[in-house]
């Protein structure tokens, strides 16, 4: 990666991230597709680092996915957010951390609107009182959960069992970092490192031994596009944009991709499978795809957690070539087990992309 210029940007875009005591809200998409990543986040923050991360079963979706498909009005979406803040207030917290990037963008946008237009804030307070009889304080600090893992990257490095290094060559692994669009594209000052070259994932990957690569379409959307994915008829948009990214990164031979958005790893993983099935093209070596990791999975691997506890068996793109490069020990026979070692039927194998 070319550092000239980026270090100046990174120094301009830093944010304050408190050390402890966070009210935590989950992500709809991460819970559905990468459930173990949220489990891993709490395992690292609570069990490894001893942090106070509080969750209430009463929190819900922020409504963001519906809002970005015009299914609910802005007033509804802001009032759902206000209810989440009320739950935080009632629990006695001031620091608010969310797992979802769509949510994070909406929290940033909503707080900005309330700041610029106090009459809107007053109206939302009235809405919430009328609907739920609740009141709320605005969080003192807002973070995406990747901000917290970034903040504690040194502590994680201190406990690391593995480095992001090729065990055979000693070379740093080549990492593509993909930042969810709504992390900083709307409000660059709210993300670590700004919008053009966010530092949040770079900081983790480099601290743990990897080399982040520049490629032309680094900032291009993963292709989600909300209704461009949720409606079957529109999915050509989604896969076309993912394809553009893969064609752009291919010449740099990345060892893996890491993302901070819940949706991006799903689309970058699954559309690789579809591209292979439709065209025969694969982007990793030897007929494999390029593994796509959540940042929690990357941190968990570094800490030596079992890849199947991290949920890496739920990826369509095989992760074993990456595990072998790092030297992570794993038991292939346990990949598709249920609880207590209960064997589950194995998934079918795709035609054109290698799985282990």
């Amino acid at each position: 990666m070319i550092y000239k210029g980026k270090q100046k940007i990174w120094s301009d875009y830093q944010k304050e991230i408190p050390d402890d005591h966070w009210f935590y809200v989950r992500s709809c998409i991460r819970q559905n597709f990468f459930p173990a990543s949220e489990v891993t986040f709490l395992r690292i923050l609570r069990d490894e680092l001893g942090k106070d991360i509080y969750e209430t079963p009463h929190h819900t979706t922020c409504g963001g996915i519906a809002y970005h498909q015009e299914c609910i009005p802005q007033e509804t979406q802001m009032t759902i957010i206000a209810r989440q803040f009320a739950l935080m207030t009632e629990a006695g917290y001031e620091n608010y951390a969310c797992s979802c990037i769509t949510s994070f963008g909406l929290y940033c946008e909503t707080l900005e609107t309330w700041h610029e237009m106090p009459e809107v804030l007053d109206r939302i307070r009235e809405n919430l009182w009328k609907a739920c009889r609740r009141e709320f304080n605005i969080p003192k600090y807002l973070a995406h959960s990747s901000d917290l893992v970034y903040k504690f990257r040194d502590e994680i490095a201190d406990r690391a069992k593995y480095k992001l290094v090729n065990k055979d060559t000693g070379e740093p692994l080549k990492v593509v970092e993909h930042i969810g669009c709504h992390y900083a594209k709307m409000f660059p000052s709210k993300g670590v490192g700004g919008a053009e070259y966010p530092y949040v994932l770079v900081g983790m990957a480099e601290r743990w031994g990897g080399n982040v690569i520049d490629y032309p379409e680094r900032r291009h959307c993963c292709g989600y596009g909300f209704r461009q994915y949720h409606v079957k008829a529109n999915r050509g948009y989604s896969i076309s944009n993912t394809h553009k990214k893969f064609e752009s990164m291919e010449p740099y031979h990345p060892d893996f991709i890491v993302t901070n958005c819940p949706g991006c790893p799903y689309f970058l993983d699954r559309w690789q499978y579809v591209i292979a099935e439709q065209t025969g093209k694969t982007y990793g070596g030897n007929g494999y795809g390029i593994p796509v990791l959540t940042y929690e999975e990357m941190a968990g691997l570094v800490l030596g957690y079992d890849p199947w506890d991290l949920g890496m068996q739920t990826h369509q793109i095989a992760v074993e070539p990456l595990l072998d490069k790092i030297g992570v020990k794993y038991d292939e026979s346990k990949k598709y087990e249920g609880t207590g070692g209960k064997p589950l039927p194995e998934p079918e194998f795709p035609m054109n992309i290698r799985c282990c």
């Binding site: 173990a36 969750e55 819900t60 970005h68 509804t76 209704r227 050509g236 579809v274 739920t314 249920g338």
Partner: protein, 231 residues
Amino acid sequence: MGKLYERLAKDIRIKEWLKACMNCGVCVSVCPAAEFYKYSPKTIVNIVQSQDDEAIEALLKSETIWYCGECMSCMTRCPRKNAPGQIVMALRSLSIDMGYFAESEKGRQQLPLQRALCGNILNYGYCVYPRTFKYEDHPESGTIGKWIGENLEEVHKRLGSNLEQDGPGVLRKIPKESLDELKAIFDVTGATERMNTVEEVSRRKAEEMGLDMEEYCKRAFNYAGKGHTIE
């Protein structure tokens, strides 16, 4: 200034994000929708800032406003601090309120989207929910997606989820009183009214097209007509 523009101008997203577009086209150059569809965010912004009601009405009835993926890449780069993606959101909201959305193929997709997403929110408390995310609607979820669906409880339990159980955790059962609060928020803030509008306008359009509502909804979800994309 016409009546449609007057209504648009009341939208927070227009107040905050329509400054003065100079039509430089930077938004077009970074736009994923413009990569794929016959789409130009700068043209949309230009029409809105013209305040020409006839042109705005045509836009509200068009396919164009539904092409945006709301990634907001345009917001970062606009040298005038406009946000075409936010302006599109305001246009879509007005198109729904006016009942114009049913005049376009992409706008008619509002019915299946609303049924799926608002259904998930009100019934479960999530926008996306594994019981309603079916492999047959999502073959791109792959052989592994199919496997997860067929072994849902076991896979989630193995990975530490609290699927449909009481207490905190991944995919926990959200308590009924919290779902009731979401419904009350929908009623107070206009989401229920919007849902009724989409159902009613779609019902009239389905009748006009000679389809029953289920056929209409299925067609809106599955059918991709010609002429939308760059060849």
